[in-house]
Amino acid sequence: MTKSAYRNNLFLTGVVLVLLFFLQFVLPDYHVLMGTRMMVLAVFALGFNALLGYVGLLSLGHAMFFAAGLYGAGLTVYHFGWSLPAAFGFAVLASALLALVIGAVVLRTIRVSFMIVTLMFAQVAYLMVLYFAEWTNGQEGLSLPLSARAVHLFGATLDLSSAITRYNLAFGLLALCLMLLFAYLASARGRVATAIRDNEGRTEMLGFNVFAGKLEMFVLSGAMSGAAGAAYALLFGYIGSTFASFQYSIEALLFTLLGGAGTLLGPLLGVLLMVAMIDKLSELTSAYLLVIGVVLIVVILWFPKGILGTIRERWAPWLL
């Protein structure tokens, strides 16, 4: 990345974040809530895109990492009464560790086998959530206790029943993850990641450990998805098995493809559009899963680069 491309991307990301921040002052309550959900899901999609967009690995099992964060945070709060920051930290760590172990296995496969194996692991995770219903309460899920609606941190107390507080926490997480990914991609390690995506054999023959490079991104991706899951559990106070289901893996894929795989802001854009659309449609029909399916097919067949990917191709080659 050249210096000017670096500046452009930093500037664009900054503008988007400032806009998101100020939206809380103009949006009505209902949309503040929806915005909060969107930003958390955007973090999930961001983690997914780190893997698909920047090392070229298509996982069909990322709900597993979202769920690892969700349950890692939710269960420790519900059963052990952990404080929210501790539960959040634990959940992110647990997802990263899970990604390290799973990654070490699945990264030995490529292409279609990679998709199938990630899908299988995710199904195992989903079934485990149902199997350990004594802890997770399975399909029905658990609502976190009222005591978990407040965060005590450095002497201050944050009230999670306030929509604005939740919005800002979600915003902070999204900003942090965007900056983290940006810094990673702009670094030497980020260059190795995209080099692996563009030409794996060549990259290995330049002396880079391709497996380690993929694993590193896999862990980063899993940790981010897990952070999103943990935030979801703690901000909305509910954990349930749907979040571990295949549908959630597909949604991450859809958000990313629609916004543009391999673009920093694509996942966020994809989430904004898709969630808004599903919200509007679900007022009209209960068949919103069908809509997801149709959009997915249309995007893959006629619009494979997504919105920002197309903009990059036509007008803005500097887009990261």
């Binding site: 563009d198 030409n199 054999g201 023959m205 330049l206």
Partner: protein, 243 residues
């Protein structure tokens, strides 16, 4: 010219693909500083042999020693870090990156090998591009280069790694006569700093460059010697005529 330190030694090196004995028990010694050519008919096992050296293919038997170390089981990227660079027979570059970015990756590859000293990234990149004459195309997208220039880029990446051993697999394939002239002087420059192992079909190129020639047929070494020894070798002539 060749010194007496062996840089690379293979003993009984084998690679079988099912029933195909692509490389079948090769004992081969390469000395530091020499330019060695490997010749042989199509399907003789030349590409497989150098793939074994670079680690892109795993040996079915035998050993490879490089700079005194057994590298037979070392993964390819570690061998590159030890100083073995390989340019692909079929051009293999980052099609969508600029020419300079392609070379930058190679420079970065070398940087992680030698640690992270104060290292002038841009100067190293520019030097490798200048050496192959691609400076004025630095910002071109690599996939849009003419074929001959893509071959040169491939070599520039090999150069930027500053390897101890540079393996070139049919580097002049598809080049024009003028480009080949340019290539000859390029290899001579490279050979001042590195040992060169060259697979080549063009006998004029081989005769002009090689200190020694190894002849491979059906996965085995048929003969080895100076260019004139090989030219006069009856068995070699027969193998070629028979091929």
């Amino acid at each position: 010219m060749a010194s007496l330190t062996p840089l690379l030694v293979t003993s009984g090196l084998k690679r079988h693909f099912g029933g195909v004995k692509a490389v079948d028990g090769v004992d081969f010694t390469l000395h530091e500083g020499e330019i060695r050519a490997i010749i042989g008919p199509n399907g003789a096992g030349k590409t497989t042999f150098v793939s074994l050296l670079s680690g892109r293919t795993e040996a079915s038997g035998g050993t490879i020693r490089f700079a005194g170390e057994d590298v037979t089981r070392l993964p390819a990227y570690k061998r590159v870090q030890r100083g073995i660079a390989y340019t692909f027979q079929i051009t293999n570059i980052y099609q969508t990156k600029s020419v300079a970015d392609n070379v930058r990756m190679a420079v970065q590859g070398r940087m992680q090998r030698v640690g992270m000293p104060a290292f002038d990234f841009e100067a190293e990149t520019a030097a490798a591009l200048a050496a192959v004459g691609l400076s004025d195309r630095a910002e071109t997208i690599a996939g849009e280069l003419a074929y001959g220039h893509q071959r040169l880029l491939e070599i520039a990446m090999g150069l930027a790694l500053q390897p101890k051993l540079l393996i070139l697999d049919e580097p002049t394939q598809g080049l024009s006569d003028a480009e080949i002239e340019n290539f000859l002087s390029l290899v001579r420059t490279i050979a001042k700093r590195a040992t060169v192992l060259l697979i080549e079909h063009n006998m004029a190129v081989v005769m002009a460059l090689a200190d020694r020639i190894s002849v491979l047929t059906r996965g085995q070494l048929l003969a080895e010697g100076t260019p004139s020894e090989i030219r006069d070798n009856a068995a070699v002539q027969e193998a070629y005529l028979g091929a």
